[in-house]
């Protein structure tokens, strides 16, 4: 086991391979306050990549309702259960064990092994609230009865558990963008990656008898475009870009800004130790204890900062750029009224007003001879 630096838990940890960060690291930020679980991302992914035989129930991108939804069944709770209770005091590095450190000598990670029936209900728990909402009830923040939607892709982790567990070394992390891929010609379908990934984003195809996973839409990324799940997000809740570790973070990089500078987007289950590269703006209304378990001890601060965004035009500007372009934004700029996004060469790919201009029109449309109304 090598000692590697994991900034998400703010300490060194054990991993089977040496630390080797790619030149660029693929990352997505999701604003969970805006996700409506329309599943357009799931369908965009499915029609692009997983419409074939053996992929009928396979969702490289899925959206689950928390806390009761999960795909496969209770994957996160069962991994946390295997890991056992761990300590993480705020302001301190994570004191508990990662899934690599807690592994018995014969395994790479502590894990649970999902079976056939666990994959059968991709959208179980949808819209299930933690309690009934009686008539006449009112809610305060955070809500005492709550649920929220969690869209998920592969996190193309800096320290992938799938890669560490493959005895054939058929999984690799690309140098150029950090995307983690299963070599479809080398995989023998042992399913070790399916067992090892705590997020259960490696999936077995019973028709081809090999394992498959989210490919980060690498053909699009190679052309400077964002993945299909991001391009097609109608709620504009996501942005894909490249993240730097905090010691190399750039103020004008959209992902670095949200994760490192503004610190309103957090990785999920960072305590597992994989340094996952999908980041979430946590939902402001959900139970804090639950959110701390999912996003770590800094979630309260992130929510407080998010609630104050009305005083912060720069972050507002960045958030309105989300979903504004299919191209990957490498940098952004915000002035008083407008936000701009730029590609790798520094050319503008998108601009958006911070506030959409208000246009007042007379009630009667003389051109068509009809009364206008505000019905959308």
């Amino acid at each position: 086991m090598a000692k590697v630096k994991n900034w998400q838990i703010n300490r060194e940890m054990e991993y089977p391979y040496e630390e080797h960060r790619p030149k660029k690291q693929w990352a997505i930020v999701f604003d969970l306050n805006k996700c409506i679980a329309c599943q357009t991302c799931s369908i965009a992914c499915k029609t692009t990549w997983t419409s074939g035989k053996g992929q009928e129930y396979m969702f490289w991108n899925n959206v689950e309702t928390k806390p009761y939804g999960s795909y496969p069944l209770a994957y996160d709770l069962r991994v946390l259960e295997q890991l056992g209770a761990q300590e993480w005091e705020k302001q301190k590095p994570y004191q508990g064990k990662t899934i690599f450190e807690a592994a018995p000598p014969n395994e790479r990670v502590v894990h649970f092994h999902p079976k056939d029936e666990d994959w059968m209900y991709p959208n179980i728990g949808e819209d299930d609230c933690t309690k009934n909402v009686p008539a006449g009830d009112h809610l305060e923040l955070p809500h005492d009865k709550w649920f929220f939607y969690l869209p998920r892709t592969c996190a193309h982790c800096t320290y992938p558990a799938c890669l560490s567990a493959c005895p054939r070394k058929a999984i690799y992390k690309r140098e150029e963008d950090g995307i983690v891929l299963i070599d479809q010609s080398r995989c023998k379908g042992y399913g070790e990656c399916v067992r090892a990934c705590p997020y259960k984003k490696s999936m077995y195809n019973p028709y081809t008898r090999v394992s498959e996973k989210c490919v980060g839409c690498y053909p699009a990324v190679e052309q400077g475009k964002q993945p299909m799940c991001v391009q097609n997000c109608i709620g504009k809740i996501r942005v894909m870009g490249f993240i730097n570790p905090p010691w190399k973070a750039r103020e004008d990089n959209p992902i670095d800004y949200l994760v490192h500078k503004k610190q309103i987007a957090l990785p999920y289950y960072p305590q597992l130790g994989l340094e996952p590269n999908i980041y979430y703006v946590p939902p402001i209304h959900a139970d804090r204890k639950y959110l701390r378990q999912m996003f770590g001890p800094h979630v309260d601060d992130a929510i407080e900062r998010y609630k104050k965004l009305k005083e912060d035009t720069k972050t507002q500007g960045l958030l309105v750029l989300m979903g504004g372009t299919d191209k990957i934004m490498h940098s952004f700029k915000v002035n008083d009224r407008t936000a701009f996004g730029y590609d790798e060469k520094g050319e503008e790919v998108v601009s958006s007003p911070l506030v959409e201009p208000l246009i007042e029109r007379p009630a009667f449309d003389t051109k068509v001879g009809a009364i206008r109304n505000n019905t959308p």
Binding site: G52, K53, N106, K115, D116, P167, S185, P206, Y207, T208
Partner: protein, 282 residues
């Protein structure tokens, strides 16, 4: 960690060397190019019990030994050599669905030097081993063809698959080859995604390096009864570019068993901790 493992292995090797058995393959008359469990072929061969233990080197490995021994008989007919392998396994596992694995057995031979073989743990760089790997799952391929999704999940009802229409209309030229693009493993030419001949022939130069050979000459057949499997693996004595065996000479052989029902697959297996001597009698 690695150092400890090695020490453990050396210790166990010494222990197992005290218990080692030699397998003698007598000459028999009969066709060995078809795998047969028929007693008349096997009557003259002495059954040896070979000790196995949980694969101890490569992680992930089994927490405990699932198959403690395999009973082995061997015979030859001057051009083919056959092994009859039996082990206890109360649960028949043939894989197919998600999270299911197949029962399997493998026989391994040195390639370069029959007298001084490479490490028994699947050989080493530039000193490969030749493995004959039978799986219950591959036997189904051979007997019934590779299973379609309808065979694996009879009650599943997908709307349609890409480019599969009831009436292709003007869309002529839709071929299976074009449809394969939607099956990543097949499109990549992965042999795992195509029907197997019942047994795989494999070259390996250490753990994790196995690659299957295209033209399989070996044959195999297994039968499961309540107490476990009996599998016959039969191969030509001389394999092009692979393992060469000679009548009247001694060599070595290694074994591995997987119990799919105990989630064994890949590096999770029971193996021989050292080479078992094999005499091919005149």
């Amino acid at each position: 960690m690695k150092f400890l493992d090695r020490k453990l292995v050396i210790g166990l090797s010494v222990f197992y060397s005290l218990n080692v058995t030699a397998i003698v393959a007598p000459s028999v008359k009969g066709d060995l190019s078809k795998p047969s469990l028929d007693e008349t072929i096997w009557a003259t061969a002495k059954e040896e019990t070979v000790t196995l233990m949980a694969q101890p080197m490569a992680i992930p490995r089994p927490a405990e030994t699932a198959t403690a021994q395999v009973k082995v008989k061997a015979v030859h007919n001057d051009s083919w050599i056959a092994f009859r392998l039996s082990w206890e396994d109360k649960e028949k596992s043939e894989a197919g669905k998600l999270g299911e694995f197949s029962d399997a057995v493998a026989v391994q031979f040195p390639v370069k030097d029959n007298k001084s073989p490479p490490p028994v743990f699947m050989g080493m760089k530039d000193n490969p081993v030749h493995i004959f790997h039978w799986r219950a799952q591959y036997q189904i391929d051979k007997e019934k063809g590779k299973r379609e999704m309808k065979d694996i999940y009879p009650n599943m009802n997908p709307d349609m698959y890409p480019m599969e229409f009831k009436d292709e209309g003007h869309l002529t030229g839709l071929t299976d080859e074009k449809r394969e693009i939607f099956s990543h493993g097949r499109a990549a030419g992965n042999p795992q995604s195509y029907a197997k001949a019942g047994v795989d022939e494999i070259f390996a130069e250490g753990f994790g390096t196995s690659s299957v050979i295209k033209n399989v000459e070996a044959v195999a057949h297994g039968e499961w009864q309540k107490s476990g499997w009996t599998v016959v693996i039969s191969r030509p004595l001389v394999r092009e570019e692979g393992s060469h065996l000679k009548v009247g000479e001694d060599t070595f052989v290694g074994f591995a068993v997987w119990q799919g029902g105990k989630d064994e697959v890949g590096s999770r297996k029971s193996v021989t901790m050292q080479w078992t001597p094999l005499s091919i009698a005149k």
